[in-house]
Structure formats: C-alpha cells, structure tokens
C-alpha cells in the first residue's frame, strides 16, 4: 500500500494557496461529460454535490434516508468554529490551528489542519448568504459562544440546532441543483459495495431500500461522505442508520482504514436508563459554558437528592483538577474524569446493573446570575429534550449526564487532496480520518464537513478528473460491475437464508457491550485481546444463527440491519486490534498501562504516526502500515489543560 500524504512544500500558511494554484482544471464545456457519484447527503456530501453541480459536472447523490435533509448532521447542536475573531479576543487561523492540533493530541496531519482553520471563515460567509439563521447580537452582527478546548469565543450557533440549520443550508443548495436537473438524487438507496476498474474507483453497488433492487452505477469518480462508525458501540449519539458499511466495503476493496481506535466519548449525554434503550442522547457541550459539573464528595451522599447535599459536600471535580479550563476541559479529559468519579462510587442517579453512572451538570448558579429567561433562550430546546426523556426539569434540579460514544476520528485514510489510496476514491466529512487526530474539539466536525465539501473536494476532484481525462466511463455491463453485483446479491441471499434463532439487533447489542467494555473509555492489553476473541466468536455465531425476517424484494428493515451489523462485527475487531497495537495513550485512546498521574501518556518516539490498515481477505490478519506525522512548525508538547 502506497501512502503518500502529498503535503505541499512551503510555509504552512501558504501551502493551500500554492497547491490550489497548481491543481489542474477542467474546461467548463467538458465538465458536463464527467459523472461524479457522491454517497451521503450530510454536510460534506450535500456541500460537495451542490458545488460539483454548480461547476457543471453531472452528479448523482445517494443517501439511505427518505430525504437528503435527514442526514445525521441534522442532529448537531452546539455550533461551528471559525476563526473570524469577531469577538476581538485574539483569535486567528493560526490559533484555531494550534488549538485543533493540541486538541487532537498531536496525532493529526499538520497541513490539513491548517487548511481547515484557513477555510473556516469562508464557511460562515457561505452559510450566512444561504440564509442560515445564526444567533445575532442586538446590533445585528453575528454572536459567538465558547466551546471546550479553546480560550477564545469562536463558535457560531443557531440556538441548539446548529447542525440542523447548516444542513438545511447545504440541502437548499443541493435542492436547487436537483431542481435544475444537474444532480440526480437517489434517496432510500444504500451503498453496499465499491467497484474498481483497473485499480480506479469507478462506481458503486446500491440496494433500493423500497423495491429491494440491487443495482450497479458507473462514474468517473466516487466521493464517500457517509459519516462515522460510532454505532459499532450499539448505543451512541448517532442515528439508527449510521453505519460503517460504505467505508468498510471500500476498505475490503483496498482502501486503507486509518486509526479506527480513535473514537470520541462525549462527556455530556443523558445516562443509560435500561436494557431496551436504543440510543443515547447528547446534551450539547455548550451547556458546559453555564453548567457546573459535580458529584458528592462522599459516596454516602450519592443516593440523596441534589438539593439535600450542601455546597461544601460537593466536588466540582473539573474545576478542581483543571483550574484554567474548568468545566470547559476537552471532551476526552472531561469524560475520563467523570468515569473516574463514578468508578470511585461517587456517581449519581438511578442504579443500572448495580452502579450509578451519572454526574450532575448544575445550572443553579447561572440561573441565579443571568436569570432563567436567559438560560431558556440559550438552551431552551435542550432542557425540553432532557425533560422529555428523563421526566425531570433541569431548571429546578441539576441535569444528570454521563459520557457516551459520539464521534469517530478514525476513518478511511486520505491524502492532502482527500483522496484515498484507491485512485478516484475521495472521502469527506466524518468518514475520513483527516483532521482531528486522536480527539476532536467541539464544533469542529461541522467545520470540517463543510470545508471538505465546499472548499476542498471541488478543487481536488477536478484535478483528478483533469488527470485521468475523458477516457469514457466503463459500462455497468463490464465484468467488474457484474462480479460486484453478484457478491452483493449472494450476501443478501445468504443473510435471508440462515433462518437461525437470534435477531440482528441482539447481535448488535452484544457487540456493543464488548467494545464499550474493552475498547471504550479505558483500554488494556488483556481486555482488548479478550474483546477480539469474543467478537470473533460472536461473528461466527451470527453467520450460523441470525434470523432475518421479511423478504429481499421490499422494504426489509431487518435485512438492512443485518447487513450493517455484519460489517460492524468485522470492523469491531479491526478497531480493537488498532487499539491493542497502539501502546500509548493519546486523546480519546486511553490505554490504562500508559498514564502519568492519571493523564494520558503519549509515546511520540514510537507512535507519532497514522496507523493505516490494509485488508488481507476474509479471516486473515490485516496489515498495519504507517504514515509518519512530520510536524514542520509545531512542537510536540504534553497536552495540559490544568
């Protein structure tokens, strides 16, 4: 596997502009002769598809929901970062870059992150012009809030629904192109395979989720913007349909999978309430601006109501441990701190399986200082959501929160152009591994999705197309498509025919328990080895004993689920393997053996690299390749938020 980062030479701040100036162009009259497939209609996919169509390409865009507007970007709450320095608090592209590199615990590619910080300002311009109703000050100018891991206020937001509004903006641009006929939108289509012709990505295989038709599509280039794989944990803040299928199937066709063990556990989610729970709900990190996190000092107080515990018996543990960042410590650090106090038996809330897994997020001081109306205006919808789910009023009593799986930094390996190691396969948004290293800072995934879609892929995909030229797309009658179609059909038939005893969901739950236990907030060698054995056994059992009811020629939710779970069962093992080999702690990857005074201990000599896995065939051990991270301008330092 060849891993060339293609990072341009020259000073960091000039790399992107110099590079852009060198990228090849396609003549406007020729653009409509090229066909681009975009899989995904989230921020990255919608933005890319709309931009390609505006440039004049023919675009086909796919998503599994019934409308592109429902991609899971819609659920992002808190905000989007941009280095506008509207608050005059000393922000700049360079500072945003430094925060992101540090937040990622020095495991991201320097040049990509710098480009992200540079393009961030354009994103806000673009979105405002589209009519995204960002929060404003009385003077009519844009408002900002603070987010974890930063000491400046650079987060733009639309109440607690920033992702919704940004996605509706991108969706409106995409819709305009669909109306003009330049984008063909295929909703309720699930990508089940990637097709390579002569080593280049030249199409995909999809299943029409309503008719069951399995179909091949040919294109000049394929762009995957299919989101993250957090649902490998079963319970996560992702939507039910979020999957690893698209990227994992590409992996099986030769695309390198980078850093699968880098997953983010978000500190502020509503705690688990029971066995039948299907998802976890995030409470935006922005709440930590005004909420204070605490647990009782004494485990004996844990069963009491919060109001019965006097001030001096409370431990505001984030403020105590990280005085300069306090409640706004980065996610991985805040999550681990919450786990620690609960492991000490000082958690609060109801007992689930004999443990109290929750900490308080208390707004009483902020309500006293600012008034309930202000808090309602800032977070009203989050408080409502909390009440719907828990039946508790957070204006009157503290919220209970606990960490939950939220985001995946790992993803398909891409070079500086966002091209994978398979020529013609580009990857944007959460699906790639590129910008967040071992931990993502709040409000920077929306930024990355839109930067990739609006401001990077249009240039770099054009360069690729100019390079391959108008050689003509293969017909879907070519043997490569036929073979891929057959594989997908066979697999579907196999899933339907096993007719065993256990539901696909029960396997998913079982897998989730294994990876949460052994590859969640804290990982050990022994635990990971055990997890790998258990996942293998579970996978074997799945293929013997799964029961998929329904039929393939119609809407078949269990068949869809079974296919996704089958891929998670393979991918889960890869994730644990990656975690096992990375013998250090960094960002969201915390190996218990590697710590110093309770904080993550990186090993820059051995692990300042991206781990990229190459598939070797069914049942064979994948091969680990590395891309060394060369930092030209930043010094590796120990990440401290104290």
């Amino acid at each position: 596997m060849k891993l060339e980062s293609k990072t341009p030479v020259g000073p960091l701040a000039d790399k992107w502009n110099n590079h852009k100036a060198k990228l090849r162009l396609v003549n406007p009259a020729n653009r409509r002769k090229y066909h681009i497939i975009v899989v995904g209609s989230g921020l990255a996919g919608s933005a890319a598809a709309a931009s390609f169509a505006e440039m004049g390409y023919q675009v086909s865009c796919f998503c599994y929901q019934d409308s592109p507007r429902r991609a899971h970007s819609i659920a992002a709450q808190g905000g989007i970062n941009a280095a506008k320095n509207y608050q005059n608090d000393g922000d700049s592209a360079r500072r945003l870059f430094l925060d992101t590199i540090k937040g990622g615990d020095y495991r991201a590619r320097e040049a990509n992150v710098y480009r992200l910080a540079q393009t961030s300002a354009n994103i806000i311009d673009q979105c405002v012009a589209q009519g995204v109703p960002f929060a404003r000050e009385y003077g009519g100018l844009l408002a900002n809030r603070s987010f974890g891991g930063a000491q400046v206020s650079r987060t733009f937001y639309a109440r607690g629904q920033t992702g919704q509004q940004l996605l509706l903006g991108a969706y409106s641009a995409l819709s305009r192109q669909i109306g003009l006929g330049t984008v063909k939108m295929y909703t309720r289509h699930e990508m089940l395979d990637l097709v390579l012709v002569n080593g280049h990505a030249k199409g995909i295989i999809t299943r029409h989720l309503v008719t069951g038709e399995i179909q091949a599509w040919s294109s000049d280039v394929v762009v995957l913007c299919t989101g993250g794989y957090g649902n490998v944990f079963y319970l996560s803040t992702n939507a039910q349909g979020c999957n690893v299928t698209a990227t994992y199937r590409a992996h099986r066709r030769g695309a390198g999978f980078a850093n699968p063990c880098y997953t983010q556990i978000h500190p502020t989610c509503i705690p688990v309430h029971g066995e039948d729970q299907s998802k976890l709900t995030l409470m935006s990190e922005s709440l930590r601006n005004d909420g204070r996190v605490w647990v009782p000092k004494d485990a004996a107080d844990c069963g009491k109501l919060a109001s019965e515990i006097p001030e001096e018996r409370r431990d505001y543990f984030l403020e105590r441990k990280y005085p300069s960042y306090g409640n706004l410590a980065p996610r991985d650090i805040a999550s681990r701190a919450a786990k620690e106090v609960c492991d000490e038996g000082r958690g609060v809330g109801q007992m689930v399986e004999g443990k109290r897994l929750g900490v308080y997020l208390d707004f009483s001081a902020a309500i006293q200082r600012l008034g309930e109306a202000t808090i309602r205006e800032r977070y009203g919808n989050l408080f409502d959501m909390y009440e719907n789910i828990t039946g508790e009023n957070a204006y009157r009593q503290p919220m209970r929160i606990f960490p939950a799986v939220h985001y995946t930094m790992g993803g398909l390996w891409v070079d500086y152009n966002l091209q994978s190691n398979i020529p013609g396969l580009f990857v944007g948004g959460e699906a790639n591994f590129s910008d967040h290293g071992a931990n993502r800072l709040g409000a920077s995934a929306l930024m990355q999705g839109l930067a990739d879609g609006y401001f990077v892929l249009p240039y770099t995909v054009t360069d690729y197309l100019a390079g391959v030229g108008l050689t003509g797309r293969p017909s879907t009658d070519a043997p490569e498509y036929k073979a891929a179609l057959k594989e997908v059909n066979d697999r579907t038939a196999r899933l339907l025919s096993i007719n065993g005893q256990r539901s696909p969901r029960s396997y998913h739950k079982a897998l989730g328990k294994i990876v949460w236990e052994y590859c969640g907030m804290a990982r050990t060698k022994a635990g990971l080895e055990k997890a790998i054995q258990e996942i293998r056994a579970l996978r074997d059992d799945f293929w013997k004993n799964v029961k998929v009811t329904g039929s393939g020629d119609t809407l078949a939710p269990e068949l869809e689920r079974a296919g996704r779970v089958a891929d998670f069962l393979e991918f889960g093992e890869l994730m644990c393997l990656d975690a096992l080999v990375r013998e250090e702690s960094c960002g969201g990857h915390f190996r218990t053996e590697y710590q110093q005074e309770g904080e993550a201990k990186r090993d820059d000599d051995k692990f300042a690299h991206v781990a990229v896995w190459e598939w070797q065939g069914e049942g064979a051990q994948p091969v680990r390749h590395i891309e060394s991270l060369v930092y030209e301008e930043v010094q590796f330092t120990t990440r401290s938020y104290k």
């Binding site: 429902r70 819609i74 819709s175 039948d276 109801q350 009811t549 809407l555 939710p557």
Partner: protein, 274 residues
C-alpha cells in the same frame, strides 16, 4: 411512589402491559390492522423503543417485523412518522414520535398505530410513507441562490436580532409531514409557510422573494397537497410548534407576488421589493 425516571421507590422498573393495533400493508395490497400484545414495556422507554420490542417479539415468533421510518431518535431529523391513537406524533404537544415516552400511556391501554394518512403521502409499506413531495417543493424554490465561494463577508449583512429570531423560529421545521397528516385537506401550507417565513424575511432572501413564493406554491399544488381552509389541526400537531401565522404570511407574500406578476405582465413597471 413512581419517580419520573421510571423507577419506583424500590428502584424497580415500572412497566406497562399494552395491546397494540398496528397497520400492516404489503406491496400492492390493501392494508389492515394486526393486533399484538406486549407484556412489560418500561415507562422509561420511548415509543419507538416500544416498537422495537414488538419487532423483536415478532422475530422470535418467526414473523415479519413492522417497517417504520426513524433515524435520529432525538426529534430533529423528521423521519419518524406515526399516527398514534389518531394523532400524528401522538398525544403530547410539541414532540415527535421518537421523543414520546411510554410514561405517557396507561397500563392495559390499547394503542392504535397507523402511518401518516394523506393523499400526497402514499403508503410504501406498513407505517412508511413517501414524503418526496416535500423535497419537490423545496427544489422548486426553497433556497437562496448562492454559488459556493461567491458569498460576501458574513458581517456585511447585519440582520436585526428580532428578524433573525423570527427566521429561526420558522426554520425549526423538521419536514416531518405531521401538519399534512393532521389536516382533513392534506394541506402542506404550514410546511411551506415555515420555509417562506424563514427565507422571505431575511435580507439575504429578498432578491428571490416573489419567484420563490410563486414556485413553491405552484409545486405544492402539483404535488397533490390540498387547500388550506383554516382547520388549524396542523398547528396543534406540529412537533416544532410552528404556528398558523406562517400561513397568513405565506398568503400575503403569495398575493403580493401574484399582483406584481400581473402588473409586470400587463406592461406596467413593477416597483422593487419593500
């Protein structure tokens, strides 16, 4: 004592026994209700988690599960769409099906679950309907034309806070279609009105204001949505509390655009926007 979090004072989970009448409809066939029972549904479960439990039970019995639309399960994607006891999204105001929790039901209750019922939303299977008409309306004009990279500096366009807030109120629509499903006429005026209110009041949206309004209304009619005769049911069932005044505003903007269209087609010069 039962606490809100669904445990009684001994820390045990409170559960409900339920009877369910669920709509079953297969390709090319007429639909009918199927009856099922669930013995122990925790009150802390969401409505869709209750449906998951039913489906898991059906799998155990070797039967086909019920297909239903859902994705985010946190009230924002607009995908879930069940008519529960005759009410789109169920009995609680301001919540989607996925955010409805079982503590709002009684032990021993019979719950009827149907798909959205509307001419413009044909049933695809069981509880799943085709809402692509909504996308078509947006494709016709629910946008501000701005090519990637062509936007001016964001703070060059100040927007008074009141206007931004009003636009945001309307922009909260999740495109679920409960308004259509609750309306006897199957009208989409609340949905279209919400988008018109979002875009037509912003300074950025002025240039295309009339075109947008005319094109969206025309497409709405073509997509088979009915007329609005002011029943007001849409507002009562909208999970995002979009209110009827977006319809009044849509009517005003539509009239304005039609009048301008008329005068410009009779050769009289039209005045600019207001």
């Amino acid at each position: 004592m039962v606490t809100a979090s669904g445990q009684n004072s001994h820390g045990h989970e409170v559960t409900l026994a339920l009877k369910l009448r669920v709509w079953r409809q297969r390709k090319g066939q007429a639909g009918h209700f199927e009856e099922h029972a669930l013995a122990a549904v925790p009150t802390s479960a969401s409505f869709l988690e209750m449906m998951d439990m039913l489906n898991e039970q059906l799998i155990k019995e070797g039967k086909e599960t019920f297909a239903f639309d859902h994705d985010c399960r946190e009230g924002i994607c607009g995908m879930c769409s069940m008519t529960i006891n005759g009410m789109p999204h169920g009995p609680l105001p301001g919540v989607t099906t996925c955010q409805l929790h079982m503590r709002n039901f009684r032990d021993g209750e019979t719950i009827t679950v149907e798909p959205w019922r509307a001419r413009a939303f044909p049933v695809l299977k069981d509880l799943v309907v085709d809402r692509s008409g909504f996308d078509k309306v947006i494709q016709a004009g629910g946008f501000i034309t701005v090519r990637t990279g062509s936007a001016p500096e964001a703070n060059n366009i100040p927007v008074p806070k009141g206007v931004a807030d009003e636009a945001m109120d309307a922009a909260e629509c999740i495109g679920c279609g409960a308004c259509v499903a609750s309306c006897k006429n199957g009208s989409a005026m609340l949905f279209v009105g919400a988008k018109i209110n979002h875009l037509n009041i912003l300074p950025q949206g002025q240039a295309e204001r009339d075109r947008r309004t005319l094109a969206m209304v025309k497409t709405m009619d073509e997509a088979g949505f009915g007329n609005c005769t002011n029943y007001g049911e849409c507002q009562a069932h909208c999970p995002k509390s979009i209110t009827l005044d977006v319809i009044a505003k849509l009517n005003r903007d539509y009239l304005r655009a039609r009048v301008k269209e008329f005068f410009s087609s009779t050769g009289k010069p039209s005045k600019g926007g207001d």
